[in-house]
Symmetry: C2
Subunit: 121 residues, 2 copies
């Protein structure tokens, strides 16, 4: 058996837009889920106030997408974790296109592949 639960993407965006708009961020993250055929279980987005940051998550059958924003510096930290061999690239491209950062950084991390241990008896 190939034990490969999934891919975890850390996406940092700098000098990005719309970072204080919780409704818009929820729509963007839901669209990112749709773009890769993921199924949304629930979503929750919290605004810390007008002009302030947003913290939000879309919980998926295939894991999650989250966003945490600092509009005062134009920075946001997103992560996207999907299990299996689902192609995450359309979601990454959609998130970057929607937030229009001046710069971004993507790290793709394998999950569940770093140890090979026996299963419990």
């Amino acid at each position: 058996m190939q034990f490969a639960p999934g891919t975890h993407v850390l996406l940092d965006v700098h000098s990005a837009r719309h970072l204080d708009d919780a409704d818009r961020l929820e729509a963007v993250l839901r669209a990112a889920a749709d773009s890769i055929g993921a199924t949304v279980i629930t979503a929750h987005f919290h605004s810390f106030g007008t002009g302030s940051g947003v913290t939000g998550v879309v919980l998926l059958r295939e894991s999650h997408i989250s966003v945490h924003t600092w509009p005062e510096t134009g920075y946001a930290a997103l992560d996207l974790f999907v299990c299996g061999d689902m192609d995450v690239e359309p979601a990454i491209a959609l998130l970057i296109d929607a937030l229009r950062p001046a710069a971004h950084d993507v790290r793709r991390m394998a999950r569940g592949q770093s140890n090979q241990v026996a299963q419990p008896s």
Copy 2:
């Protein structure tokens, strides 16, 4: 200004216990938040059925903790993202102690520090 939004921890546990118990996992993740003085905004945990996996998240004022489990293989993928210079080590220790994995892997990733770009004018 030091621009240091936070630390993102990826925690993989292998041959762990209690991975099909959504209520217990929620209690563990809430306790992990408490252990580092983080404030819970909301939490949502979804069970895929008895003996099956759980996907859940605790949304924090300081970002989030998530868990996605595969009880059939004893594997779970957790992540813990906290902003600022909050010490995440007590939460990591609590999660490992609660899930009692035969093996685990911790990756600590800096967020928001990989690019230095000008702020929007």
